[in-house]
Symmetry: D3
Subunit: 238 residues, 6 copies
């Protein structure tokens, strides 16, 4: 896994997923946003961290019985215990939304262990308690049925699909009200640096628009506005 610049994760905390898609678009990547994955809580949770992945396949009735969950090596249970603090557990649920990937006890354990968040393209159960916890959970919505109704967990730390996007272990996951984007690990430093700068420019532009400026010349900025932005930046504004 690539070693990140020490400020990259912090910088990304100030960059929106919208801005990140623009930065990735400039680098030739268009398919970076997970379809159908949104924050579970209505309030504005944000999420930044490296991906730790769990892969599932469809449940099989003879294999996926309640007894199997007692095995500490069961990949779903193991994922909860071994996702490193500060990382994001990303679960490939194959877009299946009628069985839960996890519930409040597992999410509580993740939170207690210092894991940064949970992302899946499936459902979570105990959605009420989880939303109230303030933990950064992103999913396709709530569903009551236990995971064994739909999912057979198979492996940790493999490349997976989530919401139609490729996720490799160590990719940087960022989530906000617009959903979740995946930054390939080797692009994260550049996206963080350029994204932070883009955010500053957009704040400057937004101030102009709020003050009544027309789009022309302002958004995107022409040379004059860029110079004014540079001066504003030089004055230490942000």
């Amino acid at each position: 896994m690539a070693t990140l610049h020490p400020e990259t994760l912090d910088r990304l905390r100030g960059v929106s997923t919208a801005t990140i898609t623009t930065q990735l678009f400039k680098r030739g990547l268009r398919n970076t946003w997970m379809r159908g994955v949104r924050p579970l809580a209505a309030s504005g949770v944000t999420l930044v961290g490296p991906a730790f992945t769990l892969r599932t396949i469809p449940a099989r009735e003879d294999l996926d019985r309640l007894e199997t969950l007692a095995d500490p090596e069961h990949p779903q249970r193991k994922a909860i215990e071994v996702t490193p603090p500060g990382h994001v557990l990303v679960i490939d649920c194959r877009g299946v939304t009628d069985a839960a990937a996890a519930g409040d006890i597992l999410v509580t354990r993740l939170a207690r262990r210092g894991v940064a968040g949970l992302v899946c393209d499936g459902a979570l159960r105990d959605a009420g308690p989880i939303a109230a916890m303030g933990f950064a959970a992103f999913c396709a919505g709530p569903a009551a049925p236990l995971s064994l109704c739909g999912h057979h967990a198979v492996a940790l730390q493999e490349p997976i699909a989530c919401g139609g996007v490729a996720v490799f272990p160590g990719d940087i996951i960022v989530g906000d009200a617009d959903g979740v984007v995946v930054i390939p690990a080797d692009l994260a430093d550049a996206v963080a640096a350029d994204g932070a700068e883009q955010e500053a420019l957009e704040r400057f532009v937004l101030g102009r628009i709020e003050a009544g400026a027309a789009l022309r010349g302002t958004y995107p900025p022409d040379a004059t506005v860029k110079a004014e932005f540079a001066a504003w930046r030089a004055r230490g504004e942000r």
Copy 2:
């Protein structure tokens, strides 16, 4: 219809839909949660009661005219007046979400009559006022169009489909933030009793996890933790 244990409905008020799916899974039932049906209000309404059913088919332009709604025997209007207090009106909308199954006047009448809730796999109109009423309404979302645009109501108290689940009159309907589950009437007593016990165990387990316990041995609980739970229960904790 089976006669319920007198405490069953009360017990179920303390059992989550997530727990109920686990109890039904233990009894061989996997398909018990309605797909695409969620609480209309953002806040945490819960619902418990026996199902009273209404079945619809697609509207036909020559049959479904405004005049027909004046007939007190029209099945939709009749359902509003005859669903027994404490019961849940469950409407089979065939998953059609671009016409409403009911609006605020009908829902107000249901609430006034003491009906416990309304569940449909279609839409409701006047979603703003209904959400503000605090009535337990679960549906696939709001839609403005009147029911005649999409639905022809045909019969009361037949077995129906709702959200991909079989619903027989008298089945016990439970709804919360995770959606709606259907408990076959003859399983309701056992699911309520065992479900209440499972809830107690999960509260106990959650306390341990919040206190820093690892999943191993705690969730699912091994013999030691089960014994500690039994002692905790014996002390009257819950």
Copy 3:
């Protein structure tokens, strides 16, 4: 474009989208509600105004590059600047929900220019800031990716499709918690007048239902209840 009665837009501010679909149904129009389009903000924004339309087709990688957005004649950017105050910008996104039709800077400009609202059957980015603005934005949900990932804007003020409904420039757009309906311009005066009357009747009926009246004779009202409503109206109630 038809000239509206001077009170039509004001009257429509007091008429729900649910009532409007009933009025249009009486006039033979059933397909008037946009599928999949809902208010971006959780709180109760409402919207009334004539449609100003923007049409898009799928993006093409060689045409839809960041540089093209600097062209003030780019139809998306131009739409933001020329939608008349009080009008509603309606964007045909072909139901594509994985690229945004606009973001917070463009929406801020619309709001600053006095545009009444924005409606699209696609996504918006910067959903958190937009929802906080109080601007009447209706869409299929949030999405982070920039418009160039999915949309190539082609023309203003053409007849378009939005949410499965025909929208002609000048049609009257009304939005509330039940979504968005389209009133053909030449029907707007009649729908507004009759709709306002229907709203008064429904308020009267709702009062009766809240007071315990059964549906029979009250909803729909029989001759007696209609006479009572007329007397109530004559007393200046509303």
Copy 4:
């Protein structure tokens, strides 16, 4: 059920489903064609007959076991034995396509009993043998799983939904390569008579078009072409 004109079914054998939708459109009915239902066989089977209906709901694991099929009163098995000769068995499968409504043994029995055809908005199994039989089977495609995996048959001769269209027992079902349409029983005589006349006109028009005529004046025909058609008809052409 309405009594049909003695020539109605024969007339309909010469009328395409396309023409029938036009005749029903003239009478105010737009929603008459089943979505997703097509002939199982590649070759050109056609179908005309009154509907005999079977309704299903989702399977329930404790009720839908292999043993239940031995009960001659099981509605699916009973439907096979009691659908009258010349009628069409129409099964409401709720659009579920991953379990079969019937297989080759049941279809063979239907054919042996002189039933005109089978229509469902679900799947059939043993699709190879059934397609080879020449029996008029229309469905959403093949699927191997037995009906008990998905369907619980509940009742015969109720109004049902099939492919998004209302079907009342006795409605006239017509199927060809364009799929299946439903003619309300009380409109069947008129649709058959006018539809046969429309077919004659379209054959006449098609001859003109094949001979090089432009659409203008020919399709739809103006007064001159109508008079020529009348003369052609008067000469006994068809």
Copy 5:
């Protein structure tokens, strides 16, 4: 519109849609294949020609009546008469598959006029007769209902969406058993030339694979195999 090299259309008749997507991929275009659009006839019709476009929006009950089809300026009818011989009529049906874009009389007129083919992301009616004609018709499948049930034709020769792909008038349309691809007009000469060469290489490679060669070095070809191909080409093989 760009002027094509005189051999481009002929060359494209020998290039598969699969090969064309590879050529366009090399030039940075990934979204060039229409989703859900396939040949109506089972046998192997192919299609090459410049696009002539027709755009539709959803039908409106008060505008889309049978009488309107008598107007020779009605865009659907006009499209049939003015699409130039050798061109392909491409209709934007917004993916709506429950109403037909055209039927056998209109298609017969297209064929009689020498139009190369018809492509739409909606349905065709009279599918049996059209499939038997041998005309190159590509669509999402058959549907009986007349166009007025779903479509309001609005304009000719505008840029449109079809099957999720942008189509500009004059773009080159190619169809075969794998469906339909769109070649931007200014890339058509290069794609035709390079595509023809790729086809020759693939025929050569296929011969090697049929003779037992492994993929390694053969597909894709290494320098040795490329040299052998060049020699084979130089001998006039193809």
Copy 6:
């Protein structure tokens, strides 16, 4: 991997996928049929063999370039060369149908190597030539775009999802006109033996039904019919 009884694969060649789902249903497995996967060729290809699996995730523009296909270790290319003769290559395409999993050159190589068949829940390109080859290819339909447009191949011989069903390497894959079913390896011997017996019984029953027997007592067979079947079997009929 379990060792199969030496006659199991041969026996399964005489057992339909429909019968296999019944045998698996008897053993508690309901989810065994791949959704959306059908034979590419119209004629009746059948398929039996152990699964060899290939897993894909969504393509990433910077990783999935034409050059990468020259690497003989590329998992897609490697799968073609190492799937053992007599086995079935099963590709997890995540249900993505707008890029091809393979084309005619790769399929020719599979056929040349004696591989029994190819199954994927995605698309194949060069569908015309592949259908003409007589190779047992099952997929979700044709699509022209190359695999790099949609798929990044990651690994061989992992457990995968295909058409919503779990597939473990070595599971037995059976395909016919009803689609594809997956038999867990350790159940294959029993399913083959009991399935062959069920097929014999169904042939016997079908003969009775063709001769005019009613379902009652015949299907399912009662004790008398079972005895007659046993006698028929004892006479060596099949």
